[in-house]
Symmetry: C2
Subunit: 223 residues, 2 copies
């Protein structure tokens, strides 16, 4: 017999996978990655930790589901323009921006890159590289580079966000990096000294786009 003929809807505040994942996202956003524990989550949902395990197998699955939710929502709103390069920038930026809002997504993506939503990124970006004129034989390498650059930036953004939980701490954190860099011997590390000042004033989003353009420029000659 069908185990669930119609939706049970036992009570109004019933637990569900969706409600749990939504609550986990809230916890991650508001209090950071370390705050997501089954106890805190159970408390937030006014239940016991055991109840959660009825809907979610373990913490890895919970983090994957949360990442998946955020990522697929971010990818849903991409407008496919006429210029393939612009569309590639839009794809990359939608992931980048999602990670700036939810840094824990970057951490998770670096740890578990094969999320289902990433398949979406592969499909869409390879289509654009194809439109760009990249031959089939080079497609894989282009898309790989695109995704790995994306994941590297994602991880770095997440790591930065971990150190400056509030945006106001940004100058202090950057100053500390500059200080550690310039402490080195300028004779032995001339370029580090040269770049140190740019670290202080750099815009992460702009640097991300500039690096992306390097890859796109490199993909052109691959035609």
């Amino acid at each position: 017999m069908d185990p669930r003929p119609k939706t049970p809807e036992r009570r109004e505040d019933a637990l569900s996978r969706e409600r749990i994942v939504a609550s986990a996202i809230g916890l991650l956003d508001e209090e950071g990655e370390r705050a997501l524990t089954f106890r805190a989550l159970a408390n937030r949902l006014s239940t016991g930790s055991g109840a959660i395990y009825w809907h979610i197998p373990d913490k890895d699955a919970l983090l994957s589901a949360a990442t998946e939710t955020v990522l697929s929502r971010a990818l849903a709103g991409i407008a496919g323009g006429s210029d393939p390069a612009d569309t590639l920038r839009a794809i990359a930026l939608s992931v980048f921006d999602a990670i700036e809002v939810h840094p824990w997504v970057g951490t998770q993506l670096a740890r578990e890159p094969w999320q289902p939503a990433m398949v979406e990124v592969f499909e869409r970006s390879s289509a654009q590289f194809d439109l760009l004129g990249v031959p089939r034989g080079s497609l894989f390498h282009c898309v790989s580079a695109f995704v790995q650059y994306l994941l590297g930036s994602a991880a770095q953004t997440a790591a930065a966000a971990r150190h400056k939980f509030r945006a106001s701490e940004r100058p202090a954190v950057l100053a500390a990096i500059v200080e550690r860099w310039t402490r080195r011997d300028p004779g032995e590390y001339p370029f580090v000294h040269l770049l140190a000042e740019q670290v202080r004033t750099h815009d992460e989003r702009e640097a991300f786009l500039a690096g992306l353009d390097l890859i796109l420029a490199g993909a052109k000659p691959a035609r």
Copy 2:
């Protein structure tokens, strides 16, 4: 008064930061990232977990020190050739290869990219981009892209190694990915189907180099 006029050398088997870090590297290499606990480490060193804290402040510092040791060793053996692009490849490969041998370095680098050894990477790679003819104004973006691509590949290599602890499991793991990819509708995901086969046979090191060349090719027009 000088607290330590000459080296104490109290006993032959004395604990030391070096011995602890070396032991931690051994544990990480032989049994994986999850096996590194202060208890297991203390057991390996025939001591108590409390003794370790006299030399190392906490687990983060231990992982940083281990990463630093492996990374600076890897960077030490780079021959600076005459071609800047080749030297850049050599720098990137030395990090990539170190991570293939010690996957946990990739995890750590994705979590904490500002290791002291990474300053070495910044210095050396920016010098090579400079030799390549990249103007000072674009140097920062080129080096950033280079490092972020490196870190993205590092994280992905580490993640892959986590799933196939023994090399023999590689085909099975790749087959599982291919299966999950090809399960999707070929009409909706044509490129994923196209790339799926290449995933099975791809060589990570070769793909890494191909992606790197995209960035190097993109950096050339930046002159």
